[in-house]
Structures are given as structure tokens and as C-alpha cells.
């Protein structure tokens, strides 16, 4: 489904991703863990299409290289990024935003726009999923939302957009234990054989709730180790020190 090959990203002289390889099959959930500054968020934004990076390599989703596409075209191709820091947009109604987003993607795929009534039932279902009260959709997008509300809003958008590939960037950051449970339940209920997920996290905690099929360790712009969910437990106990030392050794002149 997703094949990332030799992906490199830099800003100016700073190389952040240095040849990242990753294959994600349909229905799989992959966790990417790593220390601060290892390139986790850059990887997420490289897939979603943020401007400002020099990018090389490839990231092919269902036969289409995402790196050739604008952010909105990537969304139409099925990519969804759950932001670590969802952006506050005062004055733009959450419901209108969601409907515009969904219809934009439908039009891009050659589908009809969704009717107001059908949209309402889709939105209500998504609201229930993230346990949000009525009125949530009538507020401005993320404006004045608590940290937990912002993350719930991301999952709500994901539920409405029904992406092929969901990339969740530090979805657990800033959440208390109750909000974490709600968000994780939302994510779990959106798992399915046709949807793949990349869950980026600094801590193992989230993976107690969202059980990954594979865990990868990202250090210094490369994936340095992969395994099943037990790798996350190992990391929780031992930290990233071994990997970081190895990476700095391999980068040092012999």
C-alpha cells in the first residue's frame, strides 16, 4: 500500500531525514518511535506535503508517488495527517470546514457532493465516536479548544474523511488519561482491512491503547530498528541511548 524509499528531507543545510525506508501493508498499524529531534514529525509532514522542505526519494501510495502532489491532492489520494499541534482558525465554522473538506475530496475523486442530511449523520456519528457534545461543530475550528478537544477534533476529522492512510503525529501529547482513552478508542474503531496507520509517538504509553503490528525506531533521520510491539516495551525500559550512541558512532569518522 505505502512504500517509502530512501526518503530524504532537509531545510537549508540541515538534513533531517537521511534515507528512510518503510513499507506499510493494507490494514497494518505501524508505530514510529524515536527521541526528540530524530525526524518523526518531519516524516509525517513530508507525507502530508508541508512546504519548506527539500525532498528526495519516493513515497508511493497505491501506485501514486505522493511527493509529486500538492497537500490537497494527497488528501484526495487518501492521506490524513493528525496534527501534533492542530491549528486554531477563528471565524471558520468547524462543521462548514468539515463539509468543505469532505466535498473537496469527493469532487477530486469524481464523486458527487454529500447532501446536507447525509453529512449531518456522518458528522453525528463521528461526534459520538470521540464523545463530543453537541455544539462542538458550531464552534470555530480548534479556536479556544483545550488540548484534549483539539486531539479529539483531529480524530473526528479522520472519522469523517475515512482516509486510506492515517498518519497520527504525537496524538497522545498533551492528553490526560481520560482523553487518551477516548482518542485511542476512536482510532481503534477506525482500524480496518483497507486502512493503514502510522502512529508516531515519543512514549510507549499510547501503544498500550493502540496496539501496533510493527514498531520502528527512528534515530537521526533513519529507521535503525524494527520489530513487533515488544520492541516498544524494550524501548520503554532501556530508552534510546543504545541507538543514539550507535548512530553517532556510525556518523563519526573511523
Amino acid at each position: 500500500m505505502l512504500h517509502v524509499k530512501n526518503l530524504a528531507a532537509s531545510i537549508g543545510d540541515a538534513e533531517i531525514l537521511k534515507g528512510l525506508d518503510l513499507a506499510v501493508g493494507a490494514g497494518e498499524v505501524h508505530a514510529i518511535m524515536g527521541p526528540n529531534g530524530s525526524g518523526k514529525s518531519t516524516f509525517a509532514h513530508a507525507l502530508a506535503g508541508r512546504e519548506g522542505y527539500e525532498i528526495s526519494g519516493e513515497a508511493v501510495l497505491d501506485g501514486v508517488d505522493l511527493l509529486d502532489l500538492e497537500p490537497e491532492e494527497r488528501a484526495a489520494a487518501g492521506v490524513f495527517l493528525g496534527f501534533q499541534y492542530p491549528v486554531e482558525i477563528p471565524g471558520v465554522n468547524n462543521m462548514y470546514f468539515l463539509r468543505t473538506a469532505l466535498n473537496s475530496v469527493r469532487r477530486a475523486r469524481g464523486d458527487d457532493e454529500i447532501s446536507a442530511r447525509d453529512f449531518l449523520s456522518v458528522a453525528n456519528e463521528a461526534m459520538e465516536l470521540v464523545e463530543m457534545k453537541e455544539g462542538f461543530l458550531n464552534r470555530s475550528v480548534n479556536a479556544g479548544f483545550s488540548g484534549g478537544e483539539k486531539k479529539r477534533n483531529e480524530i473526528l476529522q479522520m472519522a469523517v474523511m475515512q482516509p486510506r492512510l492515517a498518519v497520527l503525529d504525537e496524538t497522545d501529547s498533551g492528553l490526560d488519561i481520560d482523553a487518551l482513552r477516548v482518542v485511542a478508542n476512536g482510532v481503534n474503531s477506525l482500524r480496518g482491512p483497507e486502512r493503514s496507520m502510522i502512529v508516531i509517538t515519543h512514549y510507549q504509553r499510547l501503544l498500550d491503547y493502540i496496539k501496533p503490528d510493527f514498531v520502528h525506531v527512528l534515530v537521526n533521520g533513519r529507521i535503525v530498528d524494527s520489530g513487533d510491539h515488544t520492541l516498544a516495551l524494550h524501548l520503554e525500559e532501556h530508552g534510546y541511548a543504545d541507538y543514539v550512541d550507535a548512530a553517532s558512532l556510525s556518523g563519526a569518522p573511523a
Binding site: 506535503g49 482558525i89 471565524g91 471558520v92 468543505t100 474523511m161
Partner: protein, 404 residues
């Protein structure tokens, strides 16, 4: 000065001969297009011009009383003057007799005259007199049609609004036009007696070859409330100056507005609120969006006179600049000569938020539409202050056309 509707005309006509137009050195006229203003031909109102065939297409569909002024002249035929509620009197200023005006008290406006207000007094003889005594439920709609019959011709429009004690009304002034280049010099004089309330909306949508020299003078008695909503959208030079004089304790003035510039428009808002007595409240909240090579000016002043203790005022001006060649000049002014006052002010000038654009695009929304969502979201926050859905819909549609 005061509203002396009849007697002041001859004096003004005498002054006109020796008038000096403002220059760049006058702070309130610093960014005005002085060359253009110097080329204009100010004269008495004219009603001979070719008018737009169907004005209904160009104005919001507000039910109720409609007063049409063509180049400043009261047009009874195009107006919709009945049935008038008992609480409302509407008539041409030209026909106003001393008896009609007996109910209009002399009030000190305390705002300086400039060349254009003198010209207005000299030539604005055919406008409207609106007298409210009680509650008027439907909005009173004044439609100014500006249609110069010769290039550079500028007519004068004058509206006098008298709100009796305890009265309440909504007044909408819509300004549209056509015809030759030129424009209009408009003045609205509003007086609110004790506990009177007025919501006053100005929709400025003149053609791009016009100048709009608008001035609103307001004097407020004890416990009165004035809400001003400005949508300054049209004209090559679109100017609206408010002079609000809080002359009775407990009076409140709440002014807000949106200016939205395209092409080479200059949109100029000049606001002065005078707190002359203690314990009054005022707020000014304006937003500007400037695209292409347009210029926005916001010059908002609060003037707290000696003894006006307990004054509470707030000012904010936020601007969104969409193009490198667009420009904003924002100037909050405070002059405080009293004690125990609370005066807050703030101004911002920013561009579209790249992070917000990216966020919207990452959800599949095309860049052009994402920009539009953000711009509308910024502008909508002014429209939230509007109580009337018809007006809101008209403005949104008008802005939608401007985007296209």
C-alpha cells in the same frame, strides 16, 4: 456647531467661496488622494442623472420604510414611505419647515468643521429628516444613489436623525452609484436623547470611479446607546469619519466595521469618540482586508475630557494584508485628561497564516478555497455583530463577488 438646519445654509454658502481643502499635513486627511479631491466639482444636488434601471438588484432586500435619495435629493417616487408607524416621521429636508424642526433640539456637536462638511451644509439641502419617537421595529433603509451627470461632479447628501427620549430604531444607509466619475459628500447627523437606542449600519458600495466622503456626527444624551456598523467596500477613495460625542452619563457607543480593499482602492476610517462626561462606555472594533494595491487607513481616537472620570473605552483594529503592494496605516489615538479611566487599545497587521492554509489543504481543500475560507473567517467576525440576516447575506454575497 449645532444642527441649525435652516439657518446655517446661507452662512455655509458664504464660506464656500474661501474654502481651503485639507492637505497632507492634516492628520485626518494624510492618506487622502489630494490630487483627485482637488479635481472634483462640488455642487448642489442634481437629480437629472441617468439612474441604474433596477436598484433592487444592488441593495439588500430590507422590508419596511425605504427612503431613496438621488444625488442627495429626496426621491419620493422611488421611496417606500408607507405605512409609517406612528413612532416614525420621514420627510425631505428641503420641505422641512421651522415647525417640523421644532422638535430637533440644538445640540453641541463639538467636532470641527472641515471644507467638506461646510460644502455639505451649503449644498446638502435636499436630504432626509428622520424623526423617531418611540419604538420602530423594522429597519429604516436609506438608499443613496450617486450618479454624477458630468465627470468629476460631487453631490451632497445630508441626513438628519433625531431620536427622542426612550426611542429605539435601526437605520441602514446603503450607498450605490453609477454614471460618470465623481462621487458624493455625505453627512449623517444623529442625535440621541435620554435612553434612546440606535443601530446604524452603513454599506458603502460606490463604483470604482467614485469618491465617497462620508461623515457621521453623533451626539448622545444620558443613558443612550449607539451602535455603528460600517461596511466600507466600494469607491476609489472610500472615507467614513465618525465623530461621536458622549454628552450624558451612562451613554454607550459601540462602533465596529469592516473595510475590504481591492485594486487601487483607498479605504479610510477616521473615528473620534469624545467622552465629555463621567461614566460613559465606548468601543471601537474594526477589521481590514487589503488585497492588490489597496490601502487601508484606520485612525481611531478616544478623547477623554477633564472630569470624565470613570470612562471605559476599548479600541481594536486588526488587518489582513493579502498582497505585497497593499498597505495599512493604523493609528490608535488616546487623549486622557481625566482620572480613573480604563482605556485599552490594540492594533495588528498580519498576513494569511501559512500554518492554517496548510492545515486546510491537508484536509483536501484547494489552496484558493482555503485562502477564501481564512479571509471570510477573518471578515465574518465583524458580521457576527450584525443582528440582521438579510444584511449579513448581502454582505457575504457582495464579498463573494469581489473575490471572483
Amino acid at each position: 456647531m449645532s444642527i441649525d438646519v435652516l439657518s446655517a445654509r446661507s452662512a455655509a454658502l458664504e464660506q464656500v467661496a474661501s474654502l481651503q481643502l485639507p492637505t497632507k499635513r492634516d492628520e485626518a486627511w494624510r492618506y487622502a488622494p489630494h490630487t483627485t479631491l482637488g479635481s472634483l466639482d462640488f455642487g448642489p444636488a442634481s437629480d437629472s442623472a441617468a439612474l441604474p434601471a433596477d436598484i433592487d438588484a444592488d441593495i439588500p432586500a430590507i422590508d419596511g420604510v425605504r427612503v431613496v435619495l438621488v444625488n442627495g435629493v429626496f426621491d419620493a417616487e422611488r421611496s417606500r414611505l408607507g405605512p409609517l408607524p406612528d413612532s416614525l416621521r420621514v420627510q425631505s429636508l428641503a420641505d422641512a419647515t421651522a415647525e417640523d424642526l421644532a422638535g430637533v433640539p440644538q445640540r453641541d456637536y463639538d467636532a470641527g468643521e472641515d471644507a467638506f462638511s461646510v460644502l455639505n451644509r451649503a449644498h446638502g439641502t435636499g436630504g432626509a429628516l428622520i424623526m423617531v419617537n418611540g419604538q420602530v421595529d423594522d429597519a429604516v433603509h436609506i438608499v443613496d444613489i450617486v450618479a454624477p451627470d458630468a465627470p468629476h461632479a460631487v453631490s451632497a447628501t445630508r441626513v438628519v436623525v433625531e431620536m427622542a427620549a426612550g426611542s429605539a430604531a435601526t437605520l441602514v444607509e446603503t450607498r450605490i452609484g453609477g454614471g460618470e466619475s465623481g462621487g458624493c459628500n455625505l453627512r449623517t447627523e444623529i442625535s440621541l436623547a435620554t435612553e434612546a437606542r440606535l443601530e446604524h449600519i452603513v454599506l458603502q458600495d460606490l463604483p470604482a470611479n467614485h469618491v465617497h466622503l462620508g461623515r457621521v456626527d453623533v451626539v448622545q444624551a444620558e443613558g443612550s446607546s449607539y451602535q455603528a456598523r460600517l461596511f466600507n467596500l466600494g469607491a476609489d477613495y472610500g472615507r467614513v469619519a465618525y465623530h461621536v460625542y458622549l454628552d450624558g452619563e451612562g451613554a454607550e457607543a459601540d462602533l465596529s466595521g469592516l473595510y475590504f480593499g481591492f485594486g487601487k482602492q483607498t479605504l479610510d476610517q477616521q473615528i473620534t469618540v469624545v467622552h465629555a462626561v463621567p461614566n460613559c462606555r465606548s468601543s471601537q472594533s474594526y477589521r481590514g482586508v487589503l488585497d492588490d494595491e489597496s490601502t487601508g487607513i484606520w485612525n481611531g481616537g478616544v478623547d477623554v475630557r477633564p472630569g470624565a472620570d470613570g470612562t471605559d473605552s476599548e479600541q481594536s483594529n486588526d488587518n489582513l494584508v493579502l498582497s505585497r503592494k497593499a498597505e495599512v496605516n493604523t493609528m490608535p489615538r488616546l487623549e486622557i485628561l481625566a482620572d480613573e479611566v480604563s482605556c485599552q487599545h490594540g492594533a495588528t497587521v498580519g498576513e494569511l497564516d501559512d500554518e492554517a492554509l496548510y492545515y486546510l489543504r491537508s484536509r483536501g481543500i484547494a489552496e484558493s478555497e482555503a485562502r477564501r475560507l481564512l479571509i471570510d473567517g477573518f471578515a465574518d467576525q465583524v458580521m457576527d455583530d450584525l443582528s440582521d440576516d438579510v444584511l449579513r447575506a448581502w454582505i457575504i454575497e457582495r464579498l463573494g463577488h469581489a473575490h471572483a
